[in-house]
Protein backbone atom coordinates (compact mmCIF):
# COMPACT_ATOMS: atom_id res chain seq x y z
CA UNK A 1 0.00 0.00 0.00
CA UNK A 2 1.51 3.29 -1.01
CA UNK A 3 1.54 5.85 1.72
CA UNK A 4 -0.10 8.84 0.13
CA UNK A 5 -0.06 10.93 3.29
CA UNK A 6 3.70 10.56 3.68
CA UNK A 7 4.41 11.57 0.11
CA UNK A 8 2.23 14.61 0.50
CA UNK A 9 3.95 15.81 3.62
CA UNK A 10 7.22 16.26 1.77
CA UNK A 11 6.34 17.79 -1.61
CA UNK A 12 9.90 18.80 -2.62
CA UNK A 13 10.69 15.08 -2.79
CA UNK A 14 8.71 15.12 -6.02
CA UNK A 15 11.50 17.21 -7.52
CA UNK A 16 10.14 20.13 -9.49
CA UNK A 17 9.56 22.89 -7.01
CA UNK A 18 7.78 25.79 -8.68
CA UNK A 19 10.29 28.25 -7.31
CA UNK A 20 13.11 26.61 -9.23
CA UNK A 21 11.78 27.30 -12.74
CA UNK A 22 10.84 30.92 -13.65
CA UNK A 23 8.22 30.07 -16.31
CA UNK A 24 6.56 27.55 -14.08
CA UNK A 25 6.54 30.09 -11.33
CA UNK A 26 4.48 32.60 -13.28
CA UNK A 27 2.05 29.92 -14.30
CA UNK A 28 1.56 28.77 -10.74
CA UNK A 29 0.94 32.36 -9.66
CA UNK A 30 -1.85 32.66 -12.22
CA UNK A 31 -3.30 29.35 -11.12
CA UNK A 32 -3.02 30.45 -7.52
CA UNK A 33 -4.99 33.61 -8.17
CA UNK A 34 -7.61 31.71 -10.16
CA UNK A 35 -7.97 29.14 -7.39
CA UNK A 36 -8.55 31.88 -4.87
CA UNK A 37 -11.49 33.20 -6.86
CA UNK A 38 -13.02 29.76 -7.33
CA UNK A 39 -12.73 29.06 -3.61
CA UNK A 40 -14.21 32.44 -2.75
CA UNK A 41 -17.16 31.56 -4.97
CA UNK A 42 -17.61 28.35 -2.97
CA UNK A 43 -17.81 30.36 0.24
CA UNK A 44 -19.77 33.23 -1.30
CA UNK A 45 -22.58 31.02 -2.54
CA UNK A 46 -23.75 30.89 1.09
CA UNK A 47 -24.54 34.60 0.99
CA UNK A 48 -26.22 34.31 -2.41
CA UNK A 49 -28.37 31.42 -1.20
CA UNK A 50 -29.30 33.21 2.01
CA UNK A 51 -30.33 36.30 0.02
CA UNK A 52 -32.35 34.14 -2.39
CA UNK A 53 -34.13 32.39 0.47
CA UNK A 54 -35.15 35.70 2.05
CA UNK A 55 -36.17 37.23 -1.31
CA UNK A 56 -38.21 34.26 -2.48
CA UNK A 57 -40.00 33.68 0.82
CA UNK A 58 -40.88 37.36 1.15
CA UNK A 59 -42.12 37.68 -2.42
CA UNK A 60 -44.29 34.54 -2.16
CA UNK A 61 -45.64 35.62 1.23
CA UNK A 62 -46.38 39.19 0.13
CA UNK A 63 -49.94 38.49 -1.17
CA UNK A 64 -50.84 37.62 2.41
CA UNK A 65 -50.30 41.25 3.37
CA UNK A 66 -51.98 42.73 0.30
CA UNK A 67 -54.93 40.31 -0.07
CA UNK A 68 -55.58 39.09 3.44
CA UNK A 69 -54.08 41.85 5.54
CA UNK A 70 -51.51 41.64 8.31
CA UNK A 71 -54.18 42.08 10.97
CA UNK A 72 -56.31 39.22 9.67
CA UNK A 73 -53.21 37.00 9.56
CA UNK A 74 -51.60 37.76 12.90
CA UNK A 75 -54.60 38.65 15.07
CA UNK A 76 -57.18 36.07 14.06
CA UNK A 77 -57.38 32.45 15.14
CA UNK A 78 -59.58 31.35 12.25
CA UNK A 79 -57.28 29.19 10.13
CA UNK A 80 -59.05 27.34 7.30
CA UNK A 81 -56.71 27.97 4.38
CA UNK A 82 -58.02 25.11 2.27
CA UNK A 83 -61.75 25.73 2.71
CA UNK A 84 -63.51 26.05 -0.66
CA UNK A 85 -60.38 26.75 -2.69
CA UNK A 86 -61.07 29.42 -5.31
CA UNK A 87 -64.41 30.52 -3.84
CA UNK A 88 -62.94 33.09 -1.47
CA UNK A 89 -64.26 31.44 1.68
CA UNK A 90 -60.91 30.43 3.19
CA UNK A 91 -59.79 31.95 6.50
CA UNK A 92 -56.14 32.80 7.11
CA UNK A 93 -55.79 33.76 10.77
CA UNK A 94 -52.52 32.19 11.89
CA UNK A 95 -52.77 32.74 15.63
CA UNK A 96 -53.41 29.06 16.37
CA UNK A 97 -50.36 27.67 14.50
CA UNK A 98 -48.08 30.41 15.86
CA UNK A 99 -49.28 29.87 19.43
CA UNK A 100 -49.07 26.10 18.95
CA UNK A 101 -45.43 26.24 17.87
CA UNK A 102 -44.37 28.20 20.93
CA UNK A 103 -46.48 26.09 23.29
CA UNK A 104 -45.18 22.75 22.01
CA UNK A 105 -41.56 23.90 21.93
CA UNK A 106 -41.77 25.38 25.41
CA UNK A 107 -43.10 22.07 26.71
CA UNK A 108 -40.32 20.21 24.88
CA UNK A 109 -37.67 22.45 26.45
CA UNK A 110 -39.15 21.99 29.93
CA UNK A 111 -38.77 18.24 29.52
CA UNK A 112 -35.49 18.22 27.60
CA UNK A 113 -33.30 20.73 29.43
CA UNK A 114 -33.08 18.95 32.82
CA UNK A 115 -32.20 15.65 31.14
CA UNK A 116 -29.72 17.31 28.79
CA UNK A 117 -27.98 19.05 31.69
CA UNK A 118 -27.89 15.81 33.67
CA UNK A 119 -26.19 14.09 30.73
CA UNK A 120 -23.75 16.99 30.26
CA UNK A 121 -22.73 16.98 33.95
CA UNK A 122 -22.54 13.18 34.01
CA UNK A 123 -20.24 13.06 30.99
CA UNK A 124 -17.96 15.89 32.07
CA UNK A 125 -17.95 15.73 35.86
CA UNK A 126 -19.47 12.89 37.85
CA UNK A 127 -18.66 9.94 35.56
CA UNK A 128 -16.30 11.07 32.79
CA UNK A 129 -15.01 7.51 32.25
CA UNK A 130 -18.33 5.87 31.40
CA UNK A 131 -19.53 9.14 29.94
CA UNK A 132 -16.86 9.60 27.30
CA UNK A 133 -16.74 5.92 26.46
CA UNK A 134 -20.41 5.02 26.20
CA UNK A 135 -22.81 7.89 26.79
CA UNK A 136 -21.32 10.45 24.40
CA UNK A 137 -21.09 8.10 21.38
CA UNK A 138 -24.61 6.82 22.13
CA UNK A 139 -25.96 10.36 22.25
CA UNK A 140 -24.20 11.15 18.96
CA UNK A 141 -25.95 8.22 17.29
CA UNK A 142 -29.27 9.67 18.38
CA UNK A 143 -28.45 13.04 16.83
CA UNK A 144 -28.35 11.20 13.51
CA UNK A 145 -31.69 9.39 13.73
CA UNK A 146 -34.09 11.03 11.24
CA UNK A 147 -36.68 13.19 12.94
CA UNK A 148 -39.48 11.54 11.02
CA UNK A 149 -38.49 8.26 12.70
CA UNK A 150 -38.90 9.90 16.13
CA UNK A 151 -42.32 11.04 15.01
CA UNK A 152 -43.22 7.59 13.82
CA UNK A 153 -42.01 6.05 17.07
CA UNK A 154 -44.24 8.46 19.00
CA UNK A 155 -47.05 7.49 16.68
CA UNK A 156 -46.78 3.76 17.37
CA UNK A 157 -45.88 3.85 21.09
CA UNK A 158 -46.87 7.13 22.74
CA UNK A 159 -50.27 7.63 21.15
CA UNK A 160 -51.65 4.22 22.19
CA UNK A 161 -50.62 5.10 25.77
CA UNK A 162 -52.12 8.57 25.75
CA UNK A 163 -55.28 7.35 24.03
CA UNK A 164 -56.64 6.20 27.38
CA UNK A 165 -56.43 9.62 29.05
CA UNK A 166 -56.76 12.00 26.10
CA UNK A 167 -60.08 13.30 24.79
CA UNK A 168 -61.57 10.76 22.39
CA UNK A 169 -61.44 11.00 18.63
CA UNK A 170 -57.80 11.78 17.94
CA UNK A 171 -56.16 8.59 19.13
CA UNK A 172 -54.04 10.28 21.79
CA UNK A 173 -52.43 12.79 19.44
CA UNK A 174 -51.94 16.21 20.99
CA UNK A 175 -49.69 18.84 22.53
CA UNK A 176 -48.18 16.50 25.13
CA UNK A 177 -47.25 13.83 22.58
CA UNK A 178 -45.63 16.45 20.34
CA UNK A 179 -43.75 17.97 23.27
CA UNK A 180 -42.37 14.59 24.35
CA UNK A 181 -41.29 13.61 20.81
CA UNK A 182 -39.56 16.97 20.30
CA UNK A 183 -37.91 16.74 23.72
CA UNK A 184 -36.34 13.37 22.91
CA UNK A 185 -35.24 14.78 19.57
CA UNK A 186 -33.43 17.82 21.01
CA UNK A 187 -31.91 16.32 24.18
CA UNK A 188 -28.75 15.25 22.27
CA UNK A 189 -28.32 18.74 20.77
CA UNK A 190 -28.63 20.58 24.08
CA UNK A 191 -26.54 17.99 25.94
CA UNK A 192 -23.64 18.02 23.45
CA UNK A 193 -23.27 21.82 23.41
CA UNK A 194 -23.64 22.09 27.20
CA UNK A 195 -21.04 19.35 27.71
CA UNK A 196 -18.59 21.25 25.48
CA UNK A 197 -19.12 24.29 27.67
CA UNK A 198 -18.65 22.35 30.92
CA UNK A 199 -15.48 20.80 29.53
CA UNK A 200 -13.95 24.18 28.89
CA UNK A 201 -14.49 25.41 32.46
CA UNK A 202 -10.95 25.89 33.84
CA UNK A 203 -9.80 23.08 36.15
CA UNK A 204 -8.71 25.66 38.69
CA UNK A 205 -12.34 26.65 39.34
CA UNK A 206 -13.33 23.06 40.03
CA UNK A 207 -10.31 22.39 42.24
CA UNK A 208 -10.62 25.69 44.06
CA UNK A 209 -14.21 24.92 44.95
CA UNK A 210 -13.33 21.44 46.16
CA UNK A 211 -10.40 22.79 48.18
CA UNK A 212 -12.75 25.22 49.92
CA UNK A 213 -14.69 22.21 51.16
CA UNK A 214 -17.65 22.36 48.79
CA UNK A 215 -19.41 19.08 48.07
CA UNK A 216 -19.47 17.79 44.50
CA UNK A 217 -23.07 18.90 44.09
CA UNK A 218 -22.30 22.37 45.45
CA UNK A 219 -19.44 22.66 42.97
CA UNK A 220 -21.71 21.59 40.11
CA UNK A 221 -24.53 23.94 41.03
CA UNK A 222 -22.65 27.00 42.21
CA UNK A 223 -19.47 26.86 40.12
CA UNK A 224 -19.63 24.64 37.04
CA UNK A 225 -23.14 25.36 35.76
CA UNK A 226 -22.83 29.17 36.21
CA UNK A 227 -19.39 29.14 34.57
CA UNK A 228 -20.73 27.21 31.58
CA UNK A 229 -23.88 29.29 31.31
CA UNK A 230 -23.10 30.85 27.89
CA UNK A 231 -22.73 27.41 26.29
CA UNK A 232 -25.77 26.03 28.06
CA UNK A 233 -27.87 28.98 26.88
CA UNK A 234 -26.55 28.51 23.32
CA UNK A 235 -27.49 24.86 23.49
CA UNK A 236 -30.98 25.69 24.73
CA UNK A 237 -31.50 28.32 22.02
CA UNK A 238 -30.30 25.96 19.28
CA UNK A 239 -32.53 23.22 20.69
CA UNK A 240 -35.39 25.72 20.61
CA UNK A 241 -34.64 26.60 16.97
CA UNK A 242 -34.46 22.94 15.99
CA UNK A 243 -37.73 22.10 17.71
CA UNK A 244 -39.43 25.16 16.17
CA UNK A 245 -38.45 24.08 12.67
CA UNK A 246 -39.32 20.41 12.99
CA UNK A 247 -42.24 19.54 10.78
CA UNK A 248 -42.94 15.90 10.05
CA UNK A 249 -42.24 14.45 13.49
CA UNK A 250 -44.73 16.88 14.98
CA UNK A 251 -47.23 16.38 12.18
CA UNK A 252 -47.37 12.67 12.98
CA UNK A 253 -48.37 13.11 16.64
CA UNK A 254 -50.04 16.48 17.26
CA UNK A 255 -53.47 15.70 15.82
CA UNK A 256 -53.62 18.77 13.56
CA UNK A 257 -56.62 20.68 14.90
CA UNK A 258 -56.77 24.46 14.45
CA UNK A 259 -58.65 25.23 17.65
CA UNK A 260 -56.80 26.83 20.55
CA UNK A 261 -57.30 24.60 23.65
CA UNK A 262 -59.07 26.27 26.55
CA UNK A 263 -56.41 26.29 29.25
CA UNK A 264 -58.60 28.50 31.44
CA UNK A 265 -61.30 25.88 31.65
CA UNK A 266 -59.38 22.65 31.37
CA UNK A 267 -56.17 23.63 33.16
CA UNK A 268 -53.15 21.45 32.43
CA UNK A 269 -55.29 18.66 31.00
CA UNK A 270 -55.64 20.89 27.92
CA UNK A 271 -52.13 19.63 27.09
CA UNK A 272 -53.82 16.41 26.01
CA UNK A 273 -55.85 18.27 23.38
CA UNK A 274 -54.85 18.05 19.73
CA UNK A 275 -53.46 21.26 18.27
CA UNK A 276 -51.31 22.49 15.38
CA UNK A 277 -48.03 24.32 14.77
CA UNK A 278 -46.64 26.55 12.04
CA UNK A 279 -44.69 23.69 10.50
CA UNK A 280 -47.71 21.38 10.59
CA UNK A 281 -49.90 24.06 9.00
CA UNK A 282 -47.30 24.44 6.23
CA UNK A 283 -46.98 20.68 5.72
CA UNK A 284 -50.75 20.35 5.35
CA UNK A 285 -50.61 22.42 2.20
CA UNK A 286 -47.90 20.46 0.43
CA UNK A 287 -50.25 18.86 -2.09
CA UNK A 288 -52.17 22.11 -2.72
CA UNK A 289 -49.27 24.49 -3.41
CA UNK A 290 -50.18 25.00 -7.06
CA UNK A 291 -53.97 24.96 -6.78
CA UNK A 292 -54.54 27.18 -3.72
CA UNK A 293 -52.65 30.48 -4.25
CA UNK A 294 -54.07 32.27 -1.20
CA UNK A 295 -53.42 29.37 1.15
CA UNK A 296 -49.93 28.96 -0.29
CA UNK A 297 -49.16 32.65 0.27
CA UNK A 298 -50.35 32.34 3.88
CA UNK A 299 -48.10 29.30 4.33
CA UNK A 300 -45.16 31.21 2.92
CA UNK A 301 -45.96 33.88 5.49
CA UNK A 302 -45.67 31.23 8.22
CA UNK A 303 -42.28 30.31 6.74
CA UNK A 304 -41.29 33.99 7.01
CA UNK A 305 -42.28 33.90 10.70
CA UNK A 306 -40.11 30.79 11.13
CA UNK A 307 -37.28 32.60 9.34
CA UNK A 308 -37.57 35.53 11.75
CA UNK A 309 -37.56 33.13 14.72
CA UNK A 310 -34.40 31.55 13.29
CA UNK A 311 -32.72 34.94 12.91
CA UNK A 312 -33.62 35.90 16.47
CA UNK A 313 -32.21 32.59 17.74
CA UNK A 314 -28.92 33.19 15.95
CA UNK A 315 -28.68 36.71 17.35
CA UNK A 316 -29.42 35.36 20.85
CA UNK A 317 -26.66 32.76 20.53
CA UNK A 318 -24.27 35.54 19.50
CA UNK A 319 -25.34 37.71 22.41
CA UNK A 320 -24.83 35.03 25.05
CA UNK A 321 -21.58 34.29 23.28
CA UNK A 322 -21.15 30.61 23.99
CA UNK A 323 -20.46 27.50 22.02
CA UNK A 324 -19.79 29.05 18.65
CA UNK A 325 -16.12 29.78 18.52
CA UNK A 326 -14.49 30.76 15.23
CA UNK A 327 -17.88 31.62 13.76
CA UNK A 328 -18.87 28.03 13.24
CA UNK A 329 -22.40 27.01 12.61
Amino acid sequence: MTDQGGGAIAPPAQGRSAAAVPGLRRRSRVIDRGARHVLLAGAGINVVLMALVVAFLLSRAWPTITDIGAKNFFASADWQPDAGIGFGVGAFGALAPILGSFLVVLLALLIAVPFALAVAVFVTDTNPGIGERYIRPAVEVFVGIPSVVYGYLGFITLLPLLRHIAPPGRGGAGILAAGVVLAIMIIPTVATISADGLNSVPRALREGSAALGATQWQTIRRVLLPAARPSILSGVVLGFARAMGEALAVALVIGDVNVIPDFGKEGLSALLEPFTTMTVAITDGVDKLAINPQGTAARYMLAVVLLVVTFISIILVRLVGGGRRRGRA
Binding site: D3, G5, G6, G7, A8, P11, S17, A19, R29, I31, D32, R36, L39, L40, G42, N46, L49, V53, F56, L57, S59, R60, F115, V119, V121, F122, A138, V141, G144, I145, P146, S147, V148, V149, Y152, L153, I156, I184, I187, Q216, W217, I220, G245, E246, A247, L248, T279, I282, T283, V286, D287, L289, A303, L306, L307, F311, I314, R324, G327, A329
Partner: protein, 293 residues
Protein backbone atom coordinates in the same frame (compact mmCIF):
# COMPACT_ATOMS: atom_id res chain seq x y z
CA UNK B 1 -24.79 21.09 58.85
CA UNK B 2 -22.02 19.11 57.30
CA UNK B 3 -24.07 15.97 57.37
CA UNK B 4 -27.02 17.77 55.79
CA UNK B 5 -24.78 18.94 52.96
CA UNK B 6 -23.39 15.47 52.48
CA UNK B 7 -26.86 13.98 52.35
CA UNK B 8 -27.95 16.67 49.89
CA UNK B 9 -24.91 15.83 47.79
CA UNK B 10 -25.69 12.12 47.77
CA UNK B 11 -29.31 12.70 46.86
CA UNK B 12 -28.57 15.24 44.12
CA UNK B 13 -25.84 13.17 42.46
CA UNK B 14 -28.06 10.12 42.79
CA UNK B 15 -30.95 11.87 41.07
CA UNK B 16 -28.60 13.07 38.34
CA UNK B 17 -27.28 9.56 37.70
CA UNK B 18 -30.80 8.23 37.83
CA UNK B 19 -31.89 10.67 35.12
CA UNK B 20 -28.99 9.65 32.90
CA UNK B 21 -29.82 6.00 33.52
CA UNK B 22 -33.44 6.63 32.62
CA UNK B 23 -32.42 8.40 29.41
CA UNK B 24 -30.03 5.64 28.40
CA UNK B 25 -32.74 3.07 29.08
CA UNK B 26 -35.08 5.15 26.91
CA UNK B 27 -32.54 5.31 24.08
CA UNK B 28 -31.96 1.55 24.21
CA UNK B 29 -35.72 1.01 24.30
CA UNK B 30 -36.13 3.24 21.23
CA UNK B 31 -33.59 1.25 19.23
CA UNK B 32 -34.95 -2.11 20.36
CA UNK B 33 -38.58 -1.11 19.73
CA UNK B 34 -37.88 0.11 16.21
CA UNK B 35 -35.66 -2.82 15.26
CA UNK B 36 -37.93 -5.46 16.76
CA UNK B 37 -41.00 -3.95 15.09
CA UNK B 38 -39.28 -3.89 11.72
CA UNK B 39 -37.30 -7.11 12.03
CA UNK B 40 -39.75 -9.20 10.05
CA UNK B 41 -39.54 -6.83 7.10
CA UNK B 42 -35.77 -6.28 7.38
CA UNK B 43 -35.10 -10.00 7.11
CA UNK B 44 -37.48 -10.54 4.21
CA UNK B 45 -35.64 -10.26 0.90
CA UNK B 46 -38.71 -9.07 -0.98
CA UNK B 47 -38.86 -6.01 1.24
CA UNK B 48 -35.88 -4.51 -0.56
CA UNK B 49 -37.00 -5.33 -4.08
CA UNK B 50 -40.80 -5.23 -4.03
CA UNK B 51 -42.99 -2.20 -4.63
CA UNK B 52 -45.31 -0.68 -2.01
CA UNK B 53 -48.53 -2.63 -2.21
CA UNK B 54 -50.51 -1.91 0.90
CA UNK B 55 -53.14 -4.52 1.58
CA UNK B 56 -51.63 -6.91 -0.92
CA UNK B 57 -48.88 -9.52 -0.69
CA UNK B 58 -45.15 -8.94 -1.18
CA UNK B 59 -45.02 -5.25 -0.36
CA UNK B 60 -41.56 -3.64 -0.50
CA UNK B 61 -39.54 -0.45 -0.62
CA UNK B 62 -37.52 -1.06 -3.78
CA UNK B 63 -38.35 2.22 -5.58
CA UNK B 64 -38.04 4.27 -2.39
CA UNK B 65 -34.65 2.76 -1.59
CA UNK B 66 -33.52 3.46 -5.14
CA UNK B 67 -34.82 7.05 -4.98
CA UNK B 68 -33.11 7.66 -1.64
CA UNK B 69 -29.74 6.52 -2.96
CA UNK B 70 -30.30 8.39 -6.22
CA UNK B 71 -31.11 11.71 -4.51
CA UNK B 72 -28.29 11.16 -2.02
CA UNK B 73 -25.67 10.62 -4.72
CA UNK B 74 -26.97 13.50 -6.83
CA UNK B 75 -26.96 15.95 -3.94
CA UNK B 76 -23.51 14.80 -2.80
CA UNK B 77 -22.19 15.41 -6.33
CA UNK B 78 -23.50 18.97 -6.10
CA UNK B 79 -22.62 19.84 -2.53
CA UNK B 80 -19.24 18.19 -2.01
CA UNK B 81 -17.20 20.25 -4.54
CA UNK B 82 -18.87 23.54 -3.57
CA UNK B 83 -18.68 22.86 0.16
CA UNK B 84 -15.06 21.75 -0.06
CA UNK B 85 -14.17 24.94 -1.94
CA UNK B 86 -15.92 27.01 0.72
CA UNK B 87 -14.18 25.13 3.52
CA UNK B 88 -10.76 25.61 1.92
CA UNK B 89 -11.49 29.30 1.52
CA UNK B 90 -12.48 29.73 5.17
CA UNK B 91 -9.54 27.70 6.49
CA UNK B 92 -6.74 28.94 4.24
CA UNK B 93 -7.70 32.22 2.59
CA UNK B 94 -10.40 34.06 4.51
CA UNK B 95 -8.64 35.34 7.60
CA UNK B 96 -10.80 37.45 9.89
CA UNK B 97 -11.70 40.40 7.64
CA UNK B 98 -15.16 41.87 7.21
CA UNK B 99 -15.90 39.87 4.05
CA UNK B 100 -14.92 36.63 5.77
CA UNK B 101 -17.16 37.51 8.68
CA UNK B 102 -20.15 38.17 6.45
CA UNK B 103 -19.60 34.87 4.65
CA UNK B 104 -19.29 32.98 7.90
CA UNK B 105 -22.48 34.51 9.25
CA UNK B 106 -24.38 33.60 6.10
CA UNK B 107 -23.14 30.04 6.38
CA UNK B 108 -24.14 29.86 10.02
CA UNK B 109 -27.62 31.21 9.29
CA UNK B 110 -28.12 28.80 6.43
CA UNK B 111 -27.20 25.95 8.78
CA UNK B 112 -29.93 26.94 11.25
CA UNK B 113 -32.77 27.23 8.70
CA UNK B 114 -35.54 24.70 9.31
CA UNK B 115 -35.65 22.15 6.53
CA UNK B 116 -39.29 22.91 5.84
CA UNK B 117 -38.35 26.53 5.14
CA UNK B 118 -35.70 25.30 2.71
CA UNK B 119 -38.40 23.06 1.25
CA UNK B 120 -40.70 26.02 0.55
CA UNK B 121 -37.77 27.97 -0.87
CA UNK B 122 -36.82 25.01 -3.04
CA UNK B 123 -40.37 24.78 -4.34
CA UNK B 124 -40.41 28.50 -5.22
CA UNK B 125 -36.89 28.59 -6.68
CA UNK B 126 -36.00 25.17 -8.10
CA UNK B 127 -39.53 24.16 -9.14
CA UNK B 128 -41.70 27.22 -9.87
CA UNK B 129 -39.08 29.72 -11.01
CA UNK B 130 -37.74 27.18 -13.50
CA UNK B 131 -41.27 26.35 -14.73
CA UNK B 132 -40.81 22.69 -13.92
CA UNK B 133 -42.50 20.26 -11.54
CA UNK B 134 -41.30 18.53 -8.38
CA UNK B 135 -38.35 16.32 -9.30
CA UNK B 136 -35.47 14.39 -7.84
CA UNK B 137 -33.13 17.08 -9.16
CA UNK B 138 -35.04 19.81 -7.29
CA UNK B 139 -34.98 17.63 -4.18
CA UNK B 140 -31.23 17.06 -4.51
CA UNK B 141 -30.64 20.80 -4.95
CA UNK B 142 -32.72 21.61 -1.86
CA UNK B 143 -30.83 19.00 0.15
CA UNK B 144 -27.62 20.60 -1.07
CA UNK B 145 -28.79 23.93 0.38
CA UNK B 146 -29.36 22.18 3.71
CA UNK B 147 -26.06 20.34 3.67
CA UNK B 148 -23.80 23.05 2.20
CA UNK B 149 -22.99 24.87 5.47
CA UNK B 150 -22.31 21.51 7.09
CA UNK B 151 -19.91 20.37 4.37
CA UNK B 152 -18.20 23.77 4.47
CA UNK B 153 -17.69 23.36 8.21
CA UNK B 154 -16.34 19.83 8.15
CA UNK B 155 -13.93 20.77 5.35
CA UNK B 156 -12.75 23.82 7.26
CA UNK B 157 -12.33 21.82 10.46
CA UNK B 158 -10.46 19.05 8.65
CA UNK B 159 -7.94 21.53 7.26
CA UNK B 160 -7.59 23.45 10.49
CA UNK B 161 -6.90 20.26 12.43
CA UNK B 162 -3.69 19.71 10.44
CA UNK B 163 -0.45 20.72 12.17
CA UNK B 164 0.58 24.28 11.12
CA UNK B 165 4.08 23.00 10.34
CA UNK B 166 2.72 21.30 7.19
CA UNK B 167 1.47 24.60 5.83
CA UNK B 168 4.48 26.58 6.93
CA UNK B 169 6.92 24.05 5.54
CA UNK B 170 5.29 24.02 2.14
CA UNK B 171 4.99 27.80 1.91
CA UNK B 172 8.58 28.16 3.17
CA UNK B 173 9.80 25.95 0.33
CA UNK B 174 8.32 28.41 -2.14
CA UNK B 175 5.07 26.68 -3.01
CA UNK B 176 2.12 28.95 -3.76
CA UNK B 177 -0.88 28.83 -1.48
CA UNK B 178 -2.89 26.77 -3.96
CA UNK B 179 -0.01 24.32 -4.42
CA UNK B 180 0.15 24.00 -0.64
CA UNK B 181 -3.56 23.29 -0.44
CA UNK B 182 -3.70 20.94 -3.40
CA UNK B 183 -0.52 18.96 -2.92
CA UNK B 184 0.03 19.05 0.84
CA UNK B 185 -3.05 19.88 2.87
CA UNK B 186 -5.82 18.11 0.95
CA UNK B 187 -4.05 14.72 0.81
CA UNK B 188 -3.25 14.97 4.51
CA UNK B 189 -6.85 15.90 5.35
CA UNK B 190 -8.38 13.31 3.03
CA UNK B 191 -9.32 10.77 5.74
CA UNK B 192 -11.10 13.39 7.82
CA UNK B 193 -12.82 14.69 4.70
CA UNK B 194 -14.09 11.23 3.81
CA UNK B 195 -15.43 10.73 7.33
CA UNK B 196 -17.21 14.08 7.13
CA UNK B 197 -18.66 13.28 3.73
CA UNK B 198 -20.13 10.05 5.05
CA UNK B 199 -21.78 11.84 7.95
CA UNK B 200 -23.13 14.46 5.54
CA UNK B 201 -24.54 11.68 3.37
CA UNK B 202 -26.21 10.18 6.44
CA UNK B 203 -27.97 13.46 7.05
CA UNK B 204 -29.41 13.36 3.53
CA UNK B 205 -30.65 9.84 4.09
CA UNK B 206 -33.04 10.87 6.84
CA UNK B 207 -34.12 14.26 5.56
CA UNK B 208 -37.76 14.39 4.62
CA UNK B 209 -39.46 17.79 4.88
CA UNK B 210 -37.44 19.46 2.10
CA UNK B 211 -37.92 16.52 -0.27
CA UNK B 212 -41.64 16.43 0.47
CA UNK B 213 -41.97 19.92 -1.02
CA UNK B 214 -39.59 19.61 -3.95
CA UNK B 215 -39.45 16.05 -5.20
CA UNK B 216 -42.31 14.03 -3.83
CA UNK B 217 -45.26 12.59 -5.71
CA UNK B 218 -47.19 12.24 -2.43
CA UNK B 219 -48.12 8.72 -3.06
CA UNK B 220 -47.44 5.58 -1.19
CA UNK B 221 -47.90 3.42 -4.23
CA UNK B 222 -46.84 5.56 -7.19
CA UNK B 223 -43.20 5.05 -8.01
CA UNK B 224 -40.75 6.03 -10.66
CA UNK B 225 -39.87 2.51 -11.74
CA UNK B 226 -36.16 2.94 -11.25
CA UNK B 227 -35.82 5.58 -13.97
CA UNK B 228 -32.55 7.49 -14.10
CA UNK B 229 -34.18 10.72 -15.23
CA UNK B 230 -33.44 13.43 -12.64
CA UNK B 231 -36.60 15.29 -13.69
CA UNK B 232 -38.85 12.48 -12.46
CA UNK B 233 -40.44 12.88 -9.05
CA UNK B 234 -39.93 10.19 -6.45
CA UNK B 235 -40.42 9.62 -2.75
CA UNK B 236 -37.51 8.65 -0.55
CA UNK B 237 -37.74 6.30 2.44
CA UNK B 238 -38.07 9.09 4.99
CA UNK B 239 -40.73 10.90 2.95
CA UNK B 240 -42.53 7.61 2.54
CA UNK B 241 -42.79 7.22 6.30
CA UNK B 242 -44.68 10.50 6.47
CA UNK B 243 -46.77 10.19 3.31
CA UNK B 244 -47.91 6.98 4.81
CA UNK B 245 -49.93 8.87 7.42
CA UNK B 246 -51.90 10.64 4.70
CA UNK B 247 -52.47 7.47 2.72
CA UNK B 248 -53.30 4.92 5.38
CA UNK B 249 -54.07 4.71 9.08
CA UNK B 250 -51.28 2.40 10.23
CA UNK B 251 -53.11 1.35 13.37
CA UNK B 252 -56.09 0.26 11.31
CA UNK B 253 -54.50 -1.37 8.29
CA UNK B 254 -52.16 -4.08 9.54
CA UNK B 255 -50.19 -4.44 6.33
CA UNK B 256 -49.56 -0.71 6.30
CA UNK B 257 -48.32 -0.82 9.87
CA UNK B 258 -45.96 -3.67 9.07
CA UNK B 259 -44.65 -1.84 6.02
CA UNK B 260 -44.05 1.43 7.92
CA UNK B 261 -42.34 -0.47 10.77
CA UNK B 262 -39.98 -1.88 8.17
CA UNK B 263 -39.23 1.55 6.70
CA UNK B 264 -38.51 3.04 10.14
CA UNK B 265 -36.22 0.15 11.08
CA UNK B 266 -34.41 0.42 7.75
CA UNK B 267 -33.77 4.13 8.38
CA UNK B 268 -32.38 3.37 11.83
CA UNK B 269 -30.11 0.63 10.47
CA UNK B 270 -28.90 3.04 7.78
CA UNK B 271 -28.07 5.68 10.38
CA UNK B 272 -26.16 3.13 12.45
CA UNK B 273 -24.26 1.96 9.36
CA UNK B 274 -23.33 5.53 8.37
CA UNK B 275 -22.24 6.23 11.93
CA UNK B 276 -20.15 3.09 12.32
CA UNK B 277 -18.71 3.56 8.84
CA UNK B 278 -17.63 7.11 9.54
CA UNK B 279 -16.17 6.10 12.91
CA UNK B 280 -14.20 3.19 11.48
CA UNK B 281 -12.82 5.32 8.67
CA UNK B 282 -11.93 8.01 11.19
CA UNK B 283 -9.98 5.47 13.22
CA UNK B 284 -8.15 4.22 10.15
CA UNK B 285 -7.37 7.84 9.29
CA UNK B 286 -5.89 8.54 12.70
CA UNK B 287 -3.75 5.43 12.52
CA UNK B 288 -2.43 6.40 9.11
CA UNK B 289 -1.62 9.93 10.21
CA UNK B 290 0.18 8.58 13.25
CA UNK B 291 2.25 6.32 11.04
CA UNK B 292 3.30 9.15 8.77
CA UNK B 293 3.97 11.67 11.54
Amino acid sequence: MNRRLRRQNTVAIGVLRGMVGLLVALLVWILVTLLVAGWGELTRGGFYTGVPNIGGPGSGVGPQLFNTVYVLVLSMLIVLPIGLAGGIFFAEYAGTGRLANLLRRASETLATLPSIVVGLFGYAFFVQATHSHPSRLAAALSLSVINLPYVVRISEDALRALPPSLREGSLGLGATRWQTVYKVLLPAALPALITGAIIAAGRVFGEAAAILFTGSNFSLTAHSNYSLNPFDAGDTLAVNLYVFRIQAEPNVVTDARQYADGVAALLVVAVLLFNVGARLLGRVAVRRLQRTA
